[in-house]
Symmetry: C4
Subunit: 212 residues, 4 copies
């Protein structure tokens, strides 16, 4: 367990499998006969939940990958915290299917959306734990990382994490709107890279212009 | 996220999982008793859809792999466009199961075949977006690629993409014929490599005679 | 597509996923109440089919891996033949579930066992095609392989393939016996390596004493 | 099959897939309407079983990875014993679903917990076989390993394996308590690394302070 590369490869596998299992929540309508278009149209919450969760897991993977690209050593605590993070990621097909099932069902839609948002809170929390441990220990990072500057980002990490609890609250107003905002945030984070402070220049985006 | 190799490994994982999940759409006939041969024979649309989708995803993987073999750098836009491409690929077990379910059901067979063909259009479109971004930016390619010549291939890419919309139209004539043509196109593309223009010689097939 | 390593990694992924999806064919008995032991015991065909298919796919992977360890170049034909091989491997969870479902059902058990054995014939056939193409072209092998000696093994490959058609025949005598023999053959092949003739000494087992 | 790295990559794939398939045992409550919170709450055994099995498989992976990090050569016997180990790991989603289904059902809960614990015994046994073969042959290890000291650990391995049979016994007292103890042991092993005796210093944890 001494190579961050192997931990990352295992994590990548879990991300890739979880993202691909999402499609299993979309069912084939049975016995629709001549009304197949209608039956397919009625399943729109499944499609919406699939697209949003796909983008969300894709971005989670990208951010996980960016951080681990700067990790040179893995200790048992990091291993365990990463396992907790993966436990949340691998679970995502379930709240996705739940939200798809109940998105149009009044009271239940709020419960499902709150639980879906709660998984995002849990992911942000476990991701924050990984980051907190990396910045606290310092020596697990590779030599490029400016550990002091990285420590200073903890507050910003925590701030970003306030958005997800807010979406838990919004779930009780409108489940479809909550799902749409999760999608919008995924697109936003897709195009705006998580910055890792490096010694050459704090705030430089990880991997910008990097070569293979 | 600065190594094209890691993006490709993640993508390869999604392709490998999606292609292997296809088998889940073929069901075990229940309670067939002495009529098992008959019950198995009646499932031929599932077998046909499995074989065609397997070849289709296999070729999609091969072409994706060929293109990314010439990518040296990955920026956030490419990451996002590739994620959209994977979103379509990972979804393919669903239209496959849908087409298998409705292949013999008159009106519904046309709807299912059109949707199946629509996913191929969507794949060709997202693949075209990836190629457009790579040729537009230029600097993401590695040094072997002749960027000017690569840009000139955009028209050919778009032309090739006209076949899939035509198959959407054909879906309303005959669903089995549409499926058969998707299979034929997969075999054709399997044996005819996507050419990437390189400086040593435009039109040379990617990787011909390459060594490990 | 010019690196045999990437084709092998993709193939390894398909093998690993197919072998792990096998468990989905074993169901949790519902509403068994106090009779759970009995209900679990009644599912023995599922356990037997799981164990045999797991070993079979494991050995298929090992042999595939041994052969590709000597492949330096991949052309489009090899890519396509390998895709056909993977098409059969990825399908194996289905005949496994089918045989488990019908193993004790008289006439239907013979049909299921014959189909299961038929998939082994299909695998041996596609594996034979890959080997035939490798020995026919010759230049796809890496420098260690004695191409002439490898060509001479074709007959032995074909001979080995006679066992599986025989098991198709045996299926109509006894399905459980057929399944047991598939398991026995997997254990036999697990411990007896596929030999690849090399220049240093024809008949030397691939990788014996090899280092990482 | 001559590179321990490839055997490990295949094994890693099986671990990653098995751990991610666990989520499929958690169902979406159907038709819960306004009582969704209640319906979700009633599923707590599924959540508990998911979390415990996720941690258990995660730690199994970490330990497997630690041992194989010291393996330089793979012979056919090791290949086969590793395949048996993977057969048990890949099966774990099934006893997990079984225990979740019957955790609150009196007599049946004891049967399900005993079977779940039995799979842990089986895993410890196959892991012990792999370790026994590695220490018996000796030459499969890489040069860092102190083979004599490694042999001396066999007794400790066997001792550790006594805990799991004890949990089989405890299953007949309380299934939830048994599940909780499996979880506690996973957390314990997560934070306490399996030591591999090396020549530089027996008892040193594998990979402590290692670099990529």
């Amino acid at each position: 367990m001494n190579e961050s590369g192997r931990v990352e490869a295992f994590s990548d596998g879990v991300f890739a499998i979880a993202i691909t299992l999402l499609i299993l929540e979309i069912k084939v309508p049975e016995g629709a006969g001549e009304h197949l278009w209608t039956a397919l149209g009625a399943q729109w919450p499944s499609y919406a939940a699939y697209v949003v969760s796909f983008l969300v897991i894709g971005i989670m993977w990208a951010n996980h990958h960016t951080v681990f690209g700067y990790v040179a050593r893995v200790d048992r605590t990091l291993l365990f915290l990463n396992l907790l993070l993966l436990l949340v990621v691998a679970a995502l097909p379930w709240p996705t299917a739940l939200l798809a099932e109940y998105l149009r069902e009044g009271e239940a839609s709020h419960v499902a959306a709150a639980l879906y948002s709660g998984f995002m809170v849990a992911h942000a929390f476990t991701f924050g734990l990984v980051w907190w441990w990396l910045t606290r220990t310092g020596h697990l990072f590779d030599a490029r990382v400016d550990v002091e500057a990285a420590r200073a980002t903890r507050g910003r990490f925590a701030l970003g994490n306030l958005i997800y609890p807010a979406l838990v609250g919004l779930s009780f107003v409108s489940a479809p709107l909550t799902l749409a905002l999760h999608g919008a945030m995924a697109v936003y984070y897709a195009l705006n890279q998580l910055p890792i402070p490096t010694k050459e220049g704090a705030g430089e985006g990880a991997g910008e212009g990097g070569t293979t």
